[in-house]
Amino acid sequence: MKSAVVQLPGLNRDRDMIAALTKISGQAPVTVWQTETELPDVDLIVIPGGFSYGDYLRCGAIAARMPVMQAIKAKADQGVKVLGVCNGFQILLEAGLLPGALMRNASLKFVCKEIKLEVVNAETDFSRAYEKGQILRCPVAHHDGNYFADAETLQLIEDNGQVVFRYADGTNPNGSINDIAGVINEKGNVLGLMPHPENLIEAAHGGNDGRALFASALDVIAAA
């Protein structure tokens, strides 16, 4: 499966993401610059983490209005898989591809540590290599990961199985409502999550719990 990684000024986990995709799929992803309006023919588009445009104004707000995002929307409409991690998640929300908003962490502090994630829905294109209820290790590193949605939206995404990952075992690092760590769109092809599975994929990372997410999205057999 072919993948692409979006690059925007201020994103800084693009290299981590490119390394992870290359290691897991055996094929380097193509990179796409923010001004591109014609996207290559790929099966998965990833918006990595970072501080696009400094996260000035609101996290992801400026990035979400760059030309490449129109093209990504069009691809998402056609059914191409789109994954946003951390700042990528924030950008997808600002672009209106996912419901809700991410606010400043309840502690008001940047937090970088390992947390536990529960796989709430193992039937998505991004989580099928996990089992429902499985508890994963995963690092987080963010300042604005406090997921919020109004009561109606929340009900809707909970009922629809759109909450794919939840912080487990009291490890919610940011105050997210319902411990939500990752949500998918209604159609099931756009996922956003705050934690960084790309930073836990090999022995050097001290574990590989993040690997299966990419293995699912790239349709490759999860390998250690």
Binding site: M103, R104, A106, L108, N146, F148, D150, G175
Partner: protein, 80 residues
């Protein structure tokens, strides 16, 4: 040249971690009787020209497209 101030505030019911933290900090600094702190943003801008109605329409457009996230925020525009 028209000077404008756009004020963006969180909608009622939207969680405001910063406001809450400030509320706590104020009370721990000994300020009592302070309730409901909400934090928002202001943008001071200069718009070329002198047609205020046009500027206002343009500012509204900027708010909708960029300055406010209308899912969670309201905005007001004040022109000098």
């Amino acid at each position: 040249m028209i000077k404008a101030r756009v004020t963006v505030t969180l909608k009622n019911g939207v969680l405001d971690p910063q406001g809450k933290a400030i509320e706590g900090a104020l009370s721990s600094l000994g300020f009592n009787g302070i309730g409901h702190v909400r934090q928002g943003k202001v943008f001071d801008l200069e718009v070329e020209g002198d047609d205020k109605a046009k500027a206002e329409a343009e500012l509204k457009d900027m708010c909708e497209k960029l300055l406010a996230n209308t899912v969670i925020e309201n905005y007001t525009i004040a022109i000098d």
